[in-house]
Every structure is written in C-alpha cells, then in structure tokens.
Point group: C2
Chain length 343, copies 2
DNA sequence: ATAATTTATGAAATCGGTTGCAAAAATAGA
DNA sequence: TCTATTTTTGCAACCGATTTCATAAATTAT
C-alpha cells in the first residue's frame, strides 16, 4: 500500500496550514484566490485524493443513499433503479442497492445494514410479507428520511411515491366492461401488498359503477410469474360461466395467459379480452399486443430520489417530517389484447 | 440530531477503558469472557451503533464493492446484479451500483466516483465505446482489485468472468447450418465490444468449418433493441439471395425480428430459422419460442463477486495480480424458432 | 516462595479532515 | 499617521474507533 497524500502534505509543500488547505478544497469563500489556486495545483500535482472517511467522520454525511427493492431482476424495478441512478449520480450521490427477495427477514437485515452504513436516506419498496414497518424505527428516530415507492406501507404516516392503483384498477376494469365483457376475472399477487389491494378495490368499484355483480370466485391470488398462465387458464375454463375478460396485475403473467389461451384455441380478444399492468417490453412483443397500464417506472425512480434529496438538503427542516405522498400519472394503453371494438 | 453512543460511553458506564470495549466488540480473544458479556449487554442496552467512518478511517476498509454496468434496465444486467447482490450480502459486503449508459465519459466519471468512495473492489462491464482502460489506472496502482465481467477489455491483462463467445457464436451458427440453412445473416451490436466481436468470429469459423462462403453483406451492425426488427427484416428481404437463417445477438432484438417477419407472412422456422442470445424471458414468450444461447447471468454475478471477495480476503497476496479469466459454461437451447427438423 | 509465563487491561498515538475561536495581515477611514 | 474594519490564516480540539506498547493481574513452573 502506497502512502496516501493528505492535506498535510499539501500544506507543508506550500507552507500553509492544513486548515487553509481544507477550506480551499471545499471552496470556502474566506480563502485568498491566489492561495486557492496554488493549493489546487499542488493537490493535482501530488495526486491528492480526499479521504471521505475522515470527512464523513466529522461531517456525519456520506452522500450515499440506500435502496431496498423486492428483487433486482424485475423489469419494473430495474427501470425504477435506472431512473434513481440517473438522478442520484447527477446530484453527486451514490446508490447502495440491496434486495429483500420479498422476505421480511431479509428486508430487516438489509435495513440494519443500511443503517449501519449510515446512508443519508433510504428508498424502499416493501417486501410482500412486510406487515408493519417497525424495523425502520431507527431511521425515524434518527430523523434519517425514508421514502417508500410503489409498494408502500398501509399506514398513512410516510413519505412516498406511488400511482393511484385504485384508479388504475378502475380504469382497466371499466375499459374491459366497455369492450362488452360480461364476466371479468382479476388475477393479482399477494393481497398484503397495497398495490394489489388497491387495484382490487378499483376492480370492485368499476363493477359496482356498471351495476355488475362482484363474484369473489373471479378473483385469483397467486405468484405472478411467467409460469402462472397455464394454471390460471385452467381455472378460467372451469368457471361457470366461463369469463370473457381478464385483468392481470402484471404483464409477464398476462403474457403467459395470452400464450396459454392461444394454445387452447381461444381467440383474443373476441372470446377473452385481456389487460395487463406495467407496460413492460413483453406487452409490446406478445401477439396480440397487450393492453396495459403504463407505469411510469423510470420517472418514479427519478422523482423518488429527487424528493429524497430535497428533504436532505432542506437545511431549515421546512419539509422534514411533513408526511406527503406523491402520486404519479399513469395511463391505460389499449392494444390488441382487449380492443374488441376495432375488430 | 440525538447524541451518538460511542465506545467511550460504554466504557465509562462499566468502568473499563475504550480499548477493551473496542476489542470486545471485535471479539478479540484477549478479553475476559465475563467482561465481554458485560460490554455486549451494555452496548445493547445503550443502543450502541458502531461508527463505520471512524472504523474505516483506521482500517482503510469499507466492505463496499463498486459495480459499473452499461445499463441497469436490461434483463441480462439486472439478473447479473441479482446474483452479485446475493453473494455480496451473504459475505457482508454492500454493492454501490452505477450505470455508464454505454458512454465512456460517464464510465470515467463513475470510476472516479467509485475510487473516491474507496470501494474495496470494483466490478465492471464496459461501455460500448470504451477503447482502453486507462481510467482504471488509479485502481491498479493502488492495487484495488478490478474484475471485469461479460464485456471485458481487449487486452489480456485483466481478471474477468466471461463465457466463450466465440464458441457460442460457433455453436449457434453450426446449429443453423445443421438445420439446413444456406444463407445465414448475423445481426450484432457495436463490434468494439468483445462479446459481439467474438460471436462474429465464431460465426465465421462455423461457416468455414462447413465450407460455406462468408459474405460480409450478411453481417448487420446496429443497436439491438425492440425496434430494430422492422429495419432488419427490411434489409433481409432486399438481399439476394434472401437469407434463410438469422443469428441475432440478443433476444429482445431477435424477438422483434420474429414479429416483423411474421407480419410479412414469412414462416418461422421454415423460411427463416432464428437463434437469439441470452435466454431472456422474451425468448420463452414469443411465438414461436426462440432458440437461444443460455447465458448464465445470475451465476455470472455470483461468480464475479465470489472471486473478487476471494482476492480481497487473500491476505498473503497469493492470488493478487494473478491475471486470470474465468469462463462459464453456456448452452444452446433449441426451440421452435430454429427447429426445422422437428417439423 | 520466587521466577517465568500467560492473560487481561489501559494510556496514548493515530487515521485525515473539519471547525470554533483568535490572531495576523491587509485595506479603508479619519 | 493611527484607529477601525475586513480578509486571511492558523492553532488546537474534535469526530470515534483501532492499535502499539507497556503494565498489572493471574496462573504455572521451579
């Protein structure tokens, strides 16, 4: 290990105190311009690199933001992360990213680890089985801002970025009804997650709004992955009456349903109209293309980080602890999988 | 900001020196078991949290690994990251992740930022336009291990994790030839990237091996995204003779080709047999399913981190600076898009 | 009982910036 | 020229844990 260049080296090199060097490097106004220039030059020349540990130790600030996502390898989450990274890097922050794998115990471990790493702020999309948010208590107590996005806690006492999932579920369902669907099945993931719960609400409201009867048998809960389609379609075809509309809470799963239905010779959208969620790549690739809710994932990442950093740089604490929820706009994209009227 | 609990608080609480507390908390053997127990209890009771800055400042070790990926929102990269995160978190390391967006200048900025953050090691998949790797020089000089994966530098002087892309290109092309394809087009991305260059080599070798003529016009370079299919198919149909085999260097793009071809009524695989790369979700969803090279992305992430950590914990420097490349196994998955013989 | 070890603990220096306070230098004002 | 300001600079303490070296206490050997 080579010796490190410190501000002391720079200081002695040009016969000035470390204090002045420190101030110069931080561009403190109370340092003579000529001195500054000389210090910059010497620093450059010696290949000086600031020791952030020393700096952090004094300042208690890391310029690191923690992120806890359910899984890294999901089209939605990776798009959010891309937005976060862009914003963070522009503002000079690093992102420390970890995944909970939808397990509460891992989420707790991650939270602890983030706390010990002393991130300046935390961005979280909750694990499926996270019932309460007590494990964030250390952050709350130390007044380190925690911002939830997409999958947020039940309680209303948090800062978060979401879309109006009730409305999204409502619009998607209403659209299916408008297309003449009589019996609409809704497939969703773990109902403990607000996202799914809200969409389900929207689904019910839409039925009510159109004087349709709500049939609990038409609601299917399961893991929304690429293999679910077969199982779902099997169930659909055994229902009485066989449904003619399908609202699936993510595109991957919706696409797998499309495939399973086609395999059985069922015409889409004539016999079965389908709407997914997220506007993932797959929704534009499957045949027929999936109608879906366009989820502003990248933007959500940007907004979340932007907002968190605003909180952090808010010296006067004017925003701090102000509980607020930012709701982003979504839109229903109608494509072949549900567009009966265009037939 | 509440006052922080330090080892001094613990020390004075039970009338012992900070030295002993520090040693106890690090489970140093030279501390009496009884004393240790008391220190642990008091630490717990006071809600002590170690200050990693102070610790890092002394130890010069962060337990942070840097990762620079071309883009966060790619199925391949996010799967690699998932593997990395799993391994890192098991070993007690954090991941600081940033994206270069395939721009050299951003990669340089990211590298600097990682260096200033004093990560213990760096994992890199290079940007498309990265010609040389001079910007990693500070890492090399300070002997901070840098491990490249997938997209690695031209030079042979690096530690890296890859698959044998020459062989993969060879096998994929040979497979198409075996299926009776006479004229095979190869679509690939920026040829400055080793991955694409190597596959092109494999493509050529396979042609040679089967006594087929190599036609440079049959090699198309462009951005491999979901929109490329139209453009590619347009080109294909204007070729003379019109090709009957297509090797596309990623699944997203290959899937878009499938769609564009079907739109024009071209039968797959009879008139055009197609092989993609990566075994992304989309390859299993498009109709017909895509034959593809199964890329061990998750595993690649695991192996990369595992290996990096091995380097780091190698006290005696036995491994250090030993240039080595780990080559992972890939496999060709044959599906409907190329399986003519099954027709 | 005394010397030789072994075990347990502490004092103080150190890691490298940052910052409150005070002094020195430069400039302005009378 | 001398006092009042304003600019620049530096001293020294501090952030909190780690570690070297030395010493005290306990244990074993002689």
């Amino acid at each position: 290990m080579k010796k490190e260049i410190t501000i002391y080296d720079i200081a002695s090199q040009i016969g000035v105190s470390p204090t002045t060097v420190s101030r110069a490097l931080n561009n403190h106004p109370r340092v003579n311009e000529r001195t500054k220039k000389k210090i910059y030059e010497t620093a450059e020349e010696l290949g000086y690199q600031s020791n952030i540990f020393a700096s952090n130790l004094r300042r208690k600030y890391t310029y690191n933001l923690g992120v806890i996502v359910p899984r890294l390898d999901s089209p939605f989450q990776s798009s959010v992360l891309a937005g976060m990274e862009k914003m963070a890097s522009e503002a000079g922050y690093n992102l420390i990213i970890s995944q909970s794998l939808d397990s509460l115990s891992k989420e707790i471990a991650n939270t602890k680890s983030m706390f010990n790493s002393r991130v300046d702020g935390l961005l979280v999309s909750l694990a499926a089985d996270t019932g309460n948010i007590d494990h964030f208590q250390p952050f709350f107590q130390k007044e380190i801002p925690v911002l939830f996005y997409d999958r947020v806690p039940e309680q209303n006492q948090f800062t978060g970025v979401v879309i109006d999932n009730v409305q999204a579920g409502f619009e998607a369902t209403s659209h299916l009804i408008d297309q003449g669907c009589e019996n609409i099945v809704h497939v969703l993931g773990n109902p403990k997650i607000n996202v799914y719960m809200d969409r389900l609400k929207g689904y019910k409201y839409a039925l009510m709004d159109h004087d349709k009867h709500y049939n609990p048998d038409y609601v299917i809960h399961l893991k929304l992955d690429e293999h679910a389609g077969e199982n779902i379609v099997e169930q659909l075809l055994n229902m009485d009456p066989v449904p003619d509309g399908l609202l699936v809470s993510n595109d991957t799963c919706a696409a797998s349903c499309v495939i399973a239905l086609k395999k059985r010779g069922i015409e889409i959208p004539r016999q079965m109209a389908i709407v997914g969620f997220n506007n993932d790549l797959i929704s534009r690739m499957v045949d027929p293309n999936l109608s879906t809710i366009n989820y502003p994932s990248f933007h959500m990442g940007e907004v979340a980080v932007k907002n968190l950093i605003n909180h952090l740089s808010d010296e006067e604490n004017q925003l701090l602890q102000k509980t607020e929820t930012i709701t982003l706009r979504f839109s229903l994209i109608v494509r072949g999988s549900s567009n009966r009227l265009a037939l």
